[in-house]
Subunit: 117 residues, 2 copies
């Protein structure tokens, strides 16, 4: 694979990008849910922090029993142990990118890791 890879996410349903893009530090799924639909189970993680970037629409998440609402533009970080379930709103579809990264794996970043050429 080349040093970069590009993918067009404007597709239906759920797509997992780890293998498509050759990701090595994250898994990213793109999720497109119709109004009223939700992930059909509650789950948590052993080691991975999840970060949800809401791409369009609105919905709600239940996080350790607490219901919070979200809309396009929101970014939500969820610690590994949190029991979570994400849904589109009853009256709106919702799309989000869900990132899995290993908790505490990031070392330096931005000015500490970037080099101006």
């Amino acid at each position: 694979m080349a040093n970069y890879a590009k993918w067009d996410s404007t597709q239906d349903g759920r797509t997992e990008l780890h293998d498509v893009l050759g990701l090595t530090g994250a898994e990213i799924s793109i999720n497109n849910l119709p109004a009223g639909a939700g992930v059909p189970f509650v789950h948590h993680h052993k080691k991975n922090e999840e970060i949800y970037i809401i791409l369009s629409g609105k919905g709600f998440a239940t996080l350790d029993g607490e219901k919070i609402e979200f809309k396009a533009g929101d970014v939500i970080k969820v610690a590994p142990s949190v029991k979570r379930q994400f849904s589109a709103a009853p009256d709106s579809p919702a799309s989000w990118a869900c990132l899995q990264v290993k908790e505490n794996s990031l070392e330096e970043y931005t000015n500490g890791d970037g080099v101006i050429d």
Copy 2:
């Protein structure tokens, strides 16, 4: 900080979320550029893979001298050593989320790391 954190990205300019959300496995910046604007320097990274999720609009990136176009919905992975510069198109603003994750830091994921509750 609670086990989750939420942030509304619909703001101008560039916002860095590592400290805002208490991220530990990634840095995420949200970048909103007007038509014709670009990141004003070329850079690469020492250890971090970058993943660009294009949130709206269109633009182009120069990756090790190769120019590629992108539009809303595209996801682009860039290996650490690649010299990169991202810009909005001359006739369109562009917004993207830029993720930094440590290359090769992800271990198990999805079915290997998730637990159904």
